[in-house]
Amino acid sequence: MYVLRRLPSLIATLLAVSILTFLMTSLLPGDPALQILGAENATPEAIAAVRSELQLDDPLPVRYLHWIGDALTGDFGRSYRTNEPVSQAIVERLPVTAEIGLLAIVIALAIAIPVGMLSAYRAGTRTDKVISSTSFGLLAVPNFMVAILLILVFAVWLGVLPATGWVNFTDNPVQNLRSALLPALSLAIAEMAVYTRLLRTDMIATLQQDFVTMARVKGVSNRRILFRHALRPSSFSLLTVAGVQVGAIIGGSVVIETLFAVPGVGRLLLEAVLVRDLLMVQGVALVIAVSYVVVNFTVDILYSYLDPRISHGRSSARV
């Protein structure tokens, strides 16, 4: 099976990612013990005590094995600052980021698919030029700029949506959506431009295929050709890129969550980074990187279902 064949490379990647996360945060200059204690409390004995408690004096491979072993059981240690378990902090914040990110992708796709198809269908016309130039322009607008413009229009001028803050879905679903809408839109705009451009290119290529001509000759309606015949073969790149772009959304969520004061994983990472909360940084970075890898793995698998030629081609070659 395709999934099983891809599994070893997934595990290898995850392993490599975890090693990189660990090395990155362990090899950097600065003694974590000193940072935990603060300059005034840092007597040599206190530093030695903290170092032995955190096993900082063990060789790196031993420390890595300890860390990853604990991480696999869901134990990332505790925050230096708040003494809160890292895993608990992540579990509390993850749904918020996931909701905003998913909403952003859904919004982006909901706009990009029809617009990209229209642009491809009318390739070369004025409509197409307007759409193409607009999406090209949108690529040059950073997400924080979108966020500020949205706040200016919807929160300051119109006053219809809250500029900052977060309401949990379980507390009030409507307010939750209202607080998620602007952050999600800020992330969605750039994605939308990327998706539109991509779908347009692929769709234009698909519309020249013989089966489309065939369908036209048979008198199939334009709408049916576009949605039933052409969309699926044109959407493969879109799907993969949507997976890759999850990285942009995760990166963007750091800024957007900070701007909108939303308690998500991105802001958690930023706060941990600002106070150099080592274990928190390690834990959050690992969870983010692992989610990103897993998302792209899943997209890869989905892809093989959408386009059966992939797994068939390879498996028949092996048999």
């Binding site: 070369g124 030029k129 991509l198 290119t201 692929d202 519309l207």
Partner: protein, 333 residues
């Protein structure tokens, strides 16, 4: 960085897309909403031409010359560069001295582009802020291009185990969302102009490696490379005289687009309080500071935003036009 990553990394390559065949003649044969459409992509003149071309794939024969929008973009970029280099000589006010009586002033004869919340001259801060944007983006792109380009050419030219090892490492680094890596590194290393430029440059190495390798793979197949080999040229000579000149331009075109990404990144860092220390003016910092006065004086935010937008847009436009000109297909990325 991720947005650019995908621009140059058409995923069809990893999976062999069925719809790859006819990209070069991008007129759909569905219906006829555009009678008398020109041959090929029929690039429109001006800037939209660059856009349509880039998206639709290069037509068989295209006009030489770049069109008005391209040159407008170049002009803007030159202006920004001049501001950055001659910020101290240009007849602008001191970017750090507040005019306390004229806080949040609208654009006028006294302050051409108004003042910020402390009464500092916006034009002066824009001009001096250009210095930060230009320094960071040029340094970062230079590092990424030289180191990443070198690794990519080596990987693409020698192939074999070396390539496998190099590309595996590169792909693992790319498995991290770029901003996450950047944040972690910045927090522990520091945040001076030099450090930020170096780290961003270091982090962009993998993506240049991929672009350079892809281009090298394509160039290495060409007949003039074979000819050179047949004539007994050593590897070093083929690399220096045949491969390098043909890889540099496409990678440089990519570097222009990447410069825009780095400028945005500086803005992002400013928002996170991790950019160059205040009160040194940076575009990102100006937008961030201005956010406080969104209610009473939106122009404080909008003016630096427009400057940043125009710069990134120009870089994208110029980079994209050049890329189309050099005909870099993503076929081996």
């Amino acid at each position: 960085m991720d947005a650019v990553r995908q621009e140059f990394d058409p995923p069809r390559t990893t999976h062999g897309n069925a719809a790859q065949g006819d990209v070069s003649t991008p007129m759909p044969n569905l219906g006829a909403p555009h009678p008398g459409a020109p041959d090929g992509a029929g690039p429109v003149d001006g800037g939209t031409g660059a856009v349509t071309e880039a998206v639709a794939g290069p037509p068989a024969k295209k006009k030489r010359g770049f069109g008005v929008t391209f040159w407008l973009a170049v002009t803007w970029l030159v202006a920004v560069l001049v501001c950055a280099v001659f910020a101290n000589i240009l007849p602008v006010k001191d970017p750090l001295v507040p005019d306390v009586l004229n806080k949040l002033a609208y654009p006028g004869p006294e302050h051409w582009l108004g003042t910020d919340g402390l009464g500092r001259d916006t034009l002066a801060r824009l001009v001096h802020g250009a210095r930060v944007s230009v320094t960071i983006s040029v340094t970062a792109v230079a590092i990424g291009m030289v180191v990443g380009g070198f690794i990519g050419i080596i990987a693409g030219f020698f192939r074999g185990k070396l390539e496998t090892v190099l590309m595996t490492i590169i792909n693992i680094i790319l498995a991290f969302p770029a901003l996450v890596l950047l944040l972690v590194l910045l927090a522990f290393v520091g945040r001076s102009l030099v450090v930020i430029s170096l780290i961003v440059g270091f982090l962009s190495i993998p993506i240049y490696t991929r672009v350079a390798r892809a281009t090298t793979l394509a160039v290495a197949e060409r007949e003039f490379v074979r000819a050179s080999r047949t004539m007994g040229a050593k590897n070093s000579r083929v690399l220096a005289r045949e491969i390098l000149p043909n890889v540099v331009l496409p990678v440089a075109a990519f570097g222009l687009v990447a410069m825009g990404v780095v400028i945005v990144l500086e803005g992002t860092l400013a928002f996170l309080g991790l950019s160059v220390q205040q009160p040194a003016p940076t575009w990102g910092g100006m937008i961030f500071d201005g956010k406080r006065y969104l209610n009473e004086a939106p122009h404080v935010v909008l003016i630096p935003s427009i400057a940043m937008f125009l710069t990134v847009l120009s870089l994208n436009l110029v980079g994209d036009s050049l890329r189309t000109r050099f005909d870099v297909r993503g076929s081996n990325l």
